[in-house]
Amino acid sequence: MMKKFDCVKSFTAALVAALVLIVAGAFVLGFVGFNKDVKYTDHYEVKITAEESFGDNNKTMKDTAEAVFKEDGLRYVYREEIDSGRTVLYLFRNDVPEESIADLQGRLDTAFANSTVDVTAEKYAAAGYGTLTEMWWALLAAGILLVAGFLYAAIRYKWAAAFAFLITSAIGAALTVALTALTRAVVTPAFLSVTAGAFVLTMAFALYFANVVAEDKKNVASDGLPVKELVSGAFREVFFKTLVPVLGALVLVAAMAALAPVGIKFAAIQILIGVVCAACSALFLFGGLRALLAKK
């Protein structure tokens, strides 16, 4: 399969696909915005508060509530325990019907005949982390690094590789943001860090690609080979080398998604998008761009 695949020939298709995704993502971002974590957007809170600390009976409170939610087909996003379990807070994306709350209160009254357990339910408008203000500073940091990396790549690998490095790195980060918006993956405060991670991994993979091409160029056996063929030859090495860390990261994400609570699942999906975008940008765009720009 690898012998058949030519990253230079497939470059146009890969670039078009990346640009389509980025433009579509930009539209979704502009018109709908990110799918923010329920804590930072409109949500519904069901709060169960016990009159006094119950110790193990906290489990009864949770079990009763979750049985009612299950029967009524309601899915909460977060469950938080406050004051060592005296209060349990459920966060929902959508409204919880009044009948469910009444049913829950009734069942809790039965379960705790000697104590009072109150259920309150209210819809909240929420804000915070909406501005993603930190993003501007992160963009500045990324911009500074892109310029520095571009100059370094220009000195070490010549202009064609430097421009390819610059464009690939930018596309890697842009793709991560666009795909996050398109797939409606939940954006938590860790999102910016994951995007930064995708950005640095794209740069690392692209720099390695540039290095392999430069090394192959020096090789006597490759003497006189056009850049296109050098790049195609280097792709195989870069692809297999990239496979080990990328597969490791994907397993990590799968393990997090399978084992971890909901908040971490959201972060895992972000990491998955970041790693895939970083690897794909470096593998399928850098080589083609490098060959195209060298020709020009």
Binding site: Y40, Y124, P189, A190, L192, G197, A204, V244, V251
Partner: protein
């Protein structure tokens, strides 16, 4: 290196690694003191409120002001509170604004890591009102418009640390202060008196002390603080002023980790699963070279954990975990570069020893340049970004440096030690094949 030396060195390294692994991961009762438990390096990492139980406060408007009479911008208040808490050492504090409907004013919920000074710190972060400078008679001198900034400084001389707040004034501000000191240093009859400067924020007095011209240096005034926390809090309050409205801070509430129950433990198990898969993949693809890489990656993980404890001020949150994971992927990537080149050199006709040597020599520049670029990125991000991005920059930056050292030096040492053990079988051990 001969076989005996190799075995001796491998035994020493193995013992060191095992001891380090026990210290990093194991929890046990101390044999000489049955009542004390050793909690491991991993257990000593300070976790943020998204991974470990934290503390929450609710901030509600103190006075019953109608929503029409207030102009609260929730995002601005959230940002101000987050920045203030970050300056006080709560990088991962999460602030959300909420209200039931548009007829109600916004309230704020703060979730942060537990600490002994949390109650005091949240009170400082929620302080309200205008910054005012007055003299001993209570006469208004000027306000925050004359302040260029404030920062806290620590100075250690002969093992004694002193804490100061450097308060910088604008040119107009320092002129006004000098004039006030000159005017306040003599009474109406021309006798020398002490000039007192008082700084208040809303109805809270932040500072009050006698002052002479000698305390001023250029545009700055150096204020001595009793301890680090006081210095940090004072600098923050002078620098950022107060909120527009007075908020009542609720009693502290313990909250389960923001990312879900047992978040830290589950992240650990997920990371371990990923690490095991990387090891299996590396060993099955690269044989002995994969084993060397795995041991190196294991050392990387342990050193990163040690650094999380040794470097002061690190609190691990999900962004920090993402930084460690990115650095782990980078380590695996760097090792893959070396292993790939080892194969290439052997395929082209070199002996095993020469192939290993050439692979490390050729990879040195590649790995150094990638790591250097990423280390620069971490530094830039560390200085420019706050909050979660800052946490990512710290753990990733440390990881990049450790990754470079481990892949280029430690793994090379391991490879050279392994070769004499296998002699003629070393190509089989490293899964190397000649070109067909």
């Amino acid at each position: 290196m001969n076989k005996k030396k190799s075995i001796a060195l491998l035994v020493v390294i193995s013992v060191v690694l095992v001891v380090l692994a026990v210290l990093t991961f194991a929890q046990f009762r101390l044999p000489w003191n049955d009542t004390r438990i050793y909690r491991s390096f991993l257990g000593a990492i300070e976790l943020d409120s998204d991974l470990e139980e934290g503390v929450a406060y609710e901030l509600t408007l103190k006075e019953d002001i109608s929503v029409e009479d207030t102009d609260i911008e929730p995002d601005e208040v959230v940002l101000t509170l987050e920045r203030r808490l970050e300056a006080l050492g709560y990088r991962g504090a999460q602030v959300t604004a909420y209200r039931a409907d548009e007829t109600e004013n916004w309230s704020f919920r703060v979730e942060m890591r537990s600490s002994n000074t949390a109650a005091n710190d949240i009170a400082v972060a929620a302080r309200y009102g205008e910054l005012e400078f007055t003299d001993g008679n209570g006469t208004y001198l000027f306000g925050s418009e004359m302040v260029a900034g404030a920062r806290y400084i620590s100075q250690t001389v002969q093992a004694t640390t002193s804490y100061y707040v450097e308060l910088r004034f604008t040119n107009e501000g320092i002129t006004a202060l000098r004039e006030a000191i000159a005017a306040g240093s003599t009474d109406s009859e021309g006798n020398a008196t002490d000039f007192t400067l008082t700084i208040t924020l809303g109805d809270t007095q932040l500072f009050s002390s006698t002052l002479t011209e000698d305390y001023l240096s250029g545009n700055s005034l150096l204020i001595t603080a009793s301890d680090e926390t006081t210095a940090q809090q004072l600098a923050l309050q002078i620098d950022s002023g107060g909120l527009a409205y007075e908020y009542e801070v609720s009693d502290p509430m313990t909250v389960s980790p923001a990312l879900g129950e047992n978040a830290a433990a589950l992240v650990f198990w997920a990371c371990l699963a990923a690490f095991i898969v990387i090891v299996i993949l590396a060993v099955s693809v690269y044989g002995g070279a994969g084993l060397i890489s795995s041991v190196s990656a294991f050392l990387f993980v342990m050193l990163e954990i040690v650094m999380l404890i040794v470097v002061p001020g690190i609190t691990l949150n999900m962004a920090g975990v993402a930084g460690i994971l990115a650095a782990l992927v980078l380590t695996a990537d760097s090792m893959a570069i070396i292993m790939h080149r080892m194969r290439e050199e052997f395929k082209n006709g070199k002996t095993v020893k020469a192939a290993v040597k050439a692979a490390y020599r050729r990879s040195m520049l590649t790995i150094t340049e990638i790591d250097a670029v990423l280390a620069v990125f971490s530094l830039v991000m560390f200085f420019l970004c706050g909050g979660y991005a800052n946490c990512f920059a710290i753990t990733f930056g440390i990881g990049v440096v450790i990754s470079a050292l481990v892949t280029m030096f430690f793994s090379q040492l391991l490879a050279y030690m392994a070769l004499p053990l296998f002699k003629d079988k070393s190509e089989k051990f490293l899964k190397l094949r000649r070109a067909e």
